[in-house]
Subunit: 283 residues, 2 copies
């Protein structure tokens, strides 16, 4: 089985996509920062169900990291990533350099309001500007019919949907369920930072969210349930909880019991920041 | 001679453009805020030289006006505009409502740095964010091969070029020479605000810029030449001068005598703000 075509320039990406388009083929894109795990591979599978060609971008986007964050130590393992993409049947890996994405003089920033307010933005103020700008560029470079994003980064998924709606981008955003280990831990490239003891603590994040979502769905007071969840996470061994929050599922506005809700959390294990989220069934 | 097709929805615009594309036809776009004058018609003529189909958008974009500015009194005259477009041979007029461009919940803003810094931005801080966002939307709605912008709004032309470069938009930006009356006054929809006496003062803006550009090209001290230009404008009857500035022609960074330069100015006649600009030949 041959591996994916690997291109690192926008021009080569466009040339290949043009060829496929001329053959009438549809394109699905999976934007990633590499360090591919089973979660990413599940996105590739969905892409291959949606379209005839699957393009995976691998780009550790510096503009979505704050100076204090883990840009330098973020895991990079291109050869292994390409092996995984070959096994999964992806057709093209787009691996641009930082200079290819942001040439000298680059000066444009896209800010998406609405679902970007609060949650991650309270702790990573420039994060979604970085995400929105690079995702818009990738969509304009590849012009895919579909793009697949994991629900693991749930707020990001909402922000990307808003971006496409607001800028009239003709790409259908497909949200994909979070892939978890047998203990409920969401797959994440940052799990590589965790030792064995920490993994056991990390697994409790999902369990606490499950208990809290169940409480909320059965009528518990919102503030009390959230406060108990924060206490349970600290009790379980998390060093710090950035937030546990119930939100309306689409706009990420305030949660209402008569609409689909989402319970989102971010918490620290040592120097590693974990995020997870779950649906809150409507009453 | 039949008039242009008039559409007010993005869906209808895309359907017509798709039909033209299927016939292999190329598209040139002229974004306008209506109140069309000979300057706009010159852009339509260039569009018709560049491509087989000319699309003119007519949309008074609220997001590029500050609350204190002339959004409400900005001239609107659609029937007359459509007559002029019919005479000029434009194929389609896109006349969206504000709700079509910015539906409820719209929340995205594009900021272009680089050439947007200083000049207009010092006096209209949100102006180029408004321009960049609406222009990106128009380009993503119509997907033109070419877009024609007048050099009259020179900083805007530079900002739009930067926007397209940074966001990988596949549209070629064509800058068009400013159309002037026989006394050098640049055509502008805002000239409609001026009385007869004011028109005579307004005509001196171009004359002062010509004198100043000639001085700079022949070696005059930059600060002195600019200061004399400001004095000459006030002397001529302008109420206030926002700026007269020499800049490098492409980046709008500081002017250098060994590169193509641009001399730009903004000044007030009563309650009307006028802008104009000229090239400064390189030494």
């Amino acid at each position: 089985m041959s591996g994916p075509i690997v291109v690192d320039s926008v021009a080569a990406l466009r040339a290949q996509i043009r060829d496929w388009r001329q053959d009438g083929q549809t394109i699905a894109m999976v934007p990633t920062m590499g360090a591919l795990h089973d979660g990413h591979i599940s996105l590739v599978r969905i892409a291959l169900e949606k379209a005839e060609r699957c393009v995976v971008s691998i780009f550790v986007n510096p503009t979505q990291f704050a100076p204090t964050e883990d840009l330098d130590k973020y895991p990079r393992q291109l050869a292994r990533d390409l092996d995984r993409l070959r096994e999964a049947g992806a057709h093209l890996a787009f691996t641009p350099s930082v200079a290819e994405m942001y040439p000298a003089g680059f000066a444009t920033r896209i800010s998406v309001g609405g679902p970007s307010s609060g949650l991650e933005t309270d702790f990573r103020p420039a994060f979604f500007d970085g995400v929105a700008t690079v995702v818009a560029k990738l969509f304009l470079q590849a012009a895919p019919d579909f793009a697949i994003f994991g629900e693991k980064d749930y707020q990001q998924l909402c922000v990307v949907r808003q971006l496409c709606r607001d800028l009239d981008l003709l790409v259908e955003i497909v949200g994909a369920p979070t892939v978890r280990d047998s203990h409920g831990l969401a797959m994440s490239s940052r799990n590589a930072y965790l030792g064995e003891t920490e993994i056991n603590v990390a697994r409790k994040l999902n369990a606490v969210l499950h208990q809290t979502a169940a409480k909320l769905a059965s009528g518990a007071d919102e503030a009390s349930a959230i406060s108990e969840a924060v206490g349970a996470l600290i009790q379980a061994g998390f060093r710090k909880v950035d937030y546990v929050a119930a939100r309306e599922a689409v706009t990420l506005g305030p949660w209402r019991r008569d609409r689909d809700g989402r319970l989102l959390a971010a918490a620290w294990l040592g120097t590693t920041r974990m995020i997870d989220n779950l649906e809150i069934p409507s009453a």
